[in-house]
């Protein structure tokens, strides 16, 4: 095996002597992955700030209950900014230093798009509710009636809570008095009881006794929006770009083999007392190591940025090895077909720039039409990207990615056998 390792080591030396190779591996590929990651993150909500939903708020009642209503709206949807009461130093409400808002200006702001909705709390809001009379809160919006309106849904949810609380206030005393042997001694006691019922009801509403567990397809995290959005972008770009650059690192082996044949170094090696498989095997092994180094560089950079690639490192490495093996096999098989340096260079570039987008290295395959997702499966890149995404976004493990790893290994084996049986040393 000494000759095998001698060939592999020298091939690595030759590969890393090339400045272009070093720049591609250590500089261009990380830069490209970072740029694409930032872009992908921004498209999917990435590094943009948490959306702020400006809603104009005109409180004509100025009561405790109307203030509580505003607070409940904020609790129900933390993205809501009630203008002008929630305005800040950065003038998030776009009020140009105005402290108050009248209905005409609010309508104008709606039309201009400075706000998304207008809520008007009428005068007598609190007293009417306490007296058991219905009140009407005005809600104006330019939203598409056929589409879901998150702000309206928030307002409706909060008004339901308030209505529910007051229903409880209205029915609770009667329910208590209907019980045998109990009667409020006076109206004050009855009113205090009603107030307690209201407080308890409101508190229970706020606790959301029945909750819907809402899960986004992509885990955006909840502690640091910057990290979580980076996770989205780099979770796609790091595996994608590194997979593409792995191909850029391995396919040139075709050119190298042709040049060795032209320069007669390959023939000279055949005339040494080394088994033939040591020669091409050593050269392909060097490309395998190069591919793994390429993966290591980009995933290492991402790890430094705090990007998580799931908890199963072994599965991650196996996916990388499977893909690199598949591309090494494909390279060996293609090396038996190409006849010139020009052909080899052309095929390397064409294959890389076809297999990468086809297999989802540039963008997630999920966003492509169904037929493209089917066609994409002819690319080993698709199997690798499926596995990477399962590990990164779905917290998958070894068992999840095993089918992809096996398919990649099978692709590599088939092409290696074809290549080894057809390879000509002359």
């Amino acid at each position: 095996m000494q000759t095998f390792f001698n060939v592999a080591r020298t091939e690595l030396r030759l590969i890393f002597q090339s400045r272009a190779q070093l720049v591609n591996m250590f500089v261009i590929s990380p830069i490209l992955a970072l740029v694409v990651g930032l872009g992908t993150g921004a498209i999917t909500g990435g590094f943009s700030e948490t959306p702020r939903l400006r809603v104009d708020w005109i409180d004509r009642d100025q009561s405790d209950l109307s203030t509580a209503f505003a607070a409940q709206l904020r609790t129900a949807n933390s993205n809501l900014v009630l203008c002008p009461i929630d305005n800040d130093e950065d003038d998030v409400c776009r009020l140009d230093n105005r402290d108050t808002l009248d209905e005409d200006l609010a309508r104008e702001r709606l039309i201009d798009g400075d706000s998304l909705a207008l809520i008007i709390v009428p005068d007598g809001f609190e007293s009417d509710l306490l007296d058991g009379r219905s009140v009407s809160v005005t809600y104006r919006s330019n939203a598409d009636l056929t589409a879901s309106d998150h702000i309206l849904e928030t307002v409706q949810a909060v008004t339901q809570q308030i209505s529910g609380s007051f229903v409880a206030v209205a029915v609770a005393p009667d329910a208590v008095e209907s019980a045998e042997g109990f009667e409020f001694p006076d109206n004050a006691s009855r009113q205090r009881y009603q107030e307690n019922v209201y407080d308890v009801a409101t508190e229970l509403w706020a606790q959301d006794l029945v909750q819907v567990s809402f899960e986004q397809t992509i885990d955006v995290g909840d502690e640091d929006s910057q990290v979580s959005t980076a996770q989205i972008g780099f979770g796609q770009s790091i595996p994608g770009m590194s997979t593409m650059y792995v191909m850029f690192s391995i396919f040139p082996a075709m050119t190298a083999l042709i040049l060795e044949r032209e320069n007669w170094t390959l023939q000279r090696l055949v005339m040494t007392p080394a088994p033939r498989w040591h020669l091409v095997g050593g050269k392909i092994a060097a490309r395998f190591v190069t591919g793994m180094i390429q993966y290591g560089i980009l995933f290492g950079v991402a790890a430094l940025l705090g990007i998580s690639f799931g908890g199963d490192v072994l599965a991650l490495v196996l996916v990388m090895m499977g893909f690199v093996f598949a591309i090494c096999g494909l390279t060996l098989a293609l090396a038996t077909l190409v006849r010139s340096e020009g052909q080899a260079n052309g095929i390397s570039l064409l294959l890389t720039l076809t297999l990468a987008p086809l297999g989802g290295a540039w963008w997630p395959l999920d966003i492509t039409p169904q037929f493209m997702q089917v066609i994409g499966r002819i690319s080993p890149v698709a199997w690798a990207m499926d596995a990477f995404q399962a590990l990164i976004f779905e917290q998958g493990g070894l068992l999840t990615v095993l089918p992809s790893v096996l398919i990649l290994t099978a692709i590599g084996l088939v092409f290696t056998i074809i290549g080894a049986s057809r390879f000509s040393y002359e």
Binding site: T3, T10, Q17, N263, P273, E426
Partner: protein
Amino acid sequence: MPTMLEVQNLVKEFKRRDGDIVKAVQGVSFDIHEGEIFSLLGPNGAGKTTTISMISGLISPTEGDASIGGHSITKEPLKAKALLGVIPQEIALYPTLTARQNLEFFGRMYDITGQELVKRVDEVLEFIDLVDRQNDRVETFSGGMKRRVNIGVGLLHRPQLVYMDEPTVGVDPQSRRRILDTVLRLRDEYQMAVLYTTHLMEESQELSDRVGIIDHGKLIAVGSVGELTQQVGEEDRLVLNVGEQIVGEELLGRLKSEINGISNVSYANLAVDGAAAQGEINILATRGRKALPDVITLLNDVWIDVSSIEVREPDLEAVFLNLTGHALRD
């Protein structure tokens, strides 16, 4: 002396794209002894490179076998290769590696490692006189220096048999002289057997203990230079330069039939790559000088101007002409 290489009835057939079988080598047999320089002499395309490609294990023979130091190239190829030093016609080196790195790499391919490798590399660098440039990349070397490294790689593992395939092709006269001296040193100082292929009669004549003449895939004569030249007896070779004039078969036939003492006549155009013709008429004749006036008269009759005439003693060129009916450089 022990036999280092024994070639037995080697045959190589290639199948062309149209399905036809081409016999590149047809039953070649010869042997080389320890401390002997054996030249395989023949024109381009005669089958020299195919023969040595089979001997060195690059391609498999269709029939026949060869053994190096008693090891068959078909049955024990790795043992046979371990005894063979390869010096191909091409500069088979890695241009971006230094001379030392190239030598070390190929040395390891012969299982030489550690201090032994360092020692051998130092020895070879001294032998090829490149100690001071050992850490420079080969791509920065002159053609002659690259040739020397190319030779050094083939000698590093101290082979018992060295094959050199036209090692002087494309080198300047000074480097050529140096290479020929190196070949002689391998025999005289290291007792190595050398298989030397060339299409240059002069090199073969100067270096060889024995010569094998190969043409159209067949070994047509084997022997020392003296033995081979005896085959053409006392015949002189007349070499007439006729410049751009083309000489046809009819005139060659008249020369042979109308002038007494001429045994063989051939015409060769020495021009290369579409350049203007450089015609040369080769005539084998007993007492060539006496036949010369008749030759000139006949050529004048058909308006062929002769720009130069040379009368040569019997040599390998004459042997080749005598055996094949055409010149070595044809």
